[in-house]
Symmetry: C2
Subunit: 271 residues, 2 copies
Amino acid sequence: MQNYRMIVQYDGTRYNGWQKLGDTDNTIQFKLEAVLERLVGSHVEVHGAGRTDAGVHARGQSAQFRLTDDQQNRVLKLLEQGSDTDEARAGEGPKEAEDLIKSYLNRYLPDDIGVLSVQKAAPRFHSRYNASSKHYRYRIGTNRAAHVFDRKYVYEYEGKLDVAAMKVATIKLRGEHDFSSFNGNSRMKKSRVKTIYNIRITETEDEIDLDFFGSGFLQYMVRILVGTLIEVGEGKRDPQSIDSLLEARDRRLAGPTAPACGLTLEEVRYN
Amino acid sequence: MQNYRMIVQYDGTRYNGWQKLGDTDNTIQFKLEAVLERLVGSHVEVHGAGRTDAGVHARGQSAQFRLTDDQQNRVLKLLEQGSDTDEARAGEGPKEAEDLIKSYLNRYLPDDIGVLSVQKAAPRFHSRYNASSKHYRYRIGTNRAAHVFDRKYVYEYEGKLDVAAMKVATIKLRGEHDFSSFNGNSRMKKSRVKTIYNIRITETEDEIDLDFFGSGFLQYMVRILVGTLIEVGEGKRDPQSIDSLLEARDRRLAGPTAPACGLTLEEVRYN
């Protein structure tokens, strides 16, 4: 058994998210598993650290998969066969199993999914359970004409937002809380207590970027936080009211779920 | 008569270029003219400094148009009407004719075309005839997985390129030459003498960028230069042979036309 970890980036626009119960063909997880199966001849399960929703992007998704001894031997055999080519003799081509897996994935994955690295991992490493923090960025565009080239990765907002008020609200959201008011999946039975280490708001000429750093996030949580912070920025919601909103533990009291296109999983960290 | 200049950026992927003789509906020029006509009630001709080809992008296209007194009066009337709105009283909304034109264009143009600025210009200013230099960038990608988010703006090349040899070739291309060997439009009757001020090649981990600075460029010239430089990088063409290639004035002797997607008009300068 050999465990591997990888960093994956993707344009989530045309996918049903990282994974989906039921019809799963159009997910990032499925695309990765299909290419790995093609490589090793049998099914490989890929686990992602952040199960990004439909339309959400990633620059630094962390994922992990285990190969059985048979599957691993198949990779090693391909590597050995490859060492007998002109490319390999020229010092190019994969030298290790992880190089071969990476280049095979990038050869057969669609253009909107890219594997940035593949590394061997300790046997017990799990990309989701071992993650210590995640960084999500939400981009609010304030000048559509400036985002011609990244229009699919920005949520364009028309109107003025009071960024100072939004910043006050983010301070109230920091720390360990029960985030039930920001939980998009009412059937979720597990703890809704998460820790937000920081929310940073950066205003530039053409956009307002919201960076969320936390121990983990409930389903739709970042986008509901953004929808609520936008209402604060619009003056529809007092930043001081965030305390009582957290206490209420009632999704109906928070703002709307902001559109998926603006959200990107930037990085997953491990201690 | 009022003359205007503007800076326009666009993702050229789905367009037939800046302009096209015959069926012109799917061009950048047509889209701009259609929105201006909607604004002023009659046809307005828009001139671009660089007539980018189908699929070519721009970050800094310079364009220009003249409004007749009637058309200009219509803009001024709308401006006056607008000054009577809540938005205007709040100190927002357009204050000058050029602000109104810019925001109107950005409201009605598709998302893949953006107007970055509109300014009044001297009566005799012409965006094409007065341009003193143009900067085009061609992006050659060397790591497809890294370009998930800008895959439409990079030409992914598989294989190794000898960048040092390419740099030698660029030195030979610099200066004033008859560029007939790099001219993609054989029916073009005008002078094929152009000056290349500089070609800068920058290699990063994931791409090789070629920046072309010149007085002007013939049709397809940048892409034929890129196709020829790639052949130099592949070792198929001696960099020293560029001298005789220029002298030959024969398009058939140069390399292929590189794909449009990698090319972007970055900037147009005026003295």
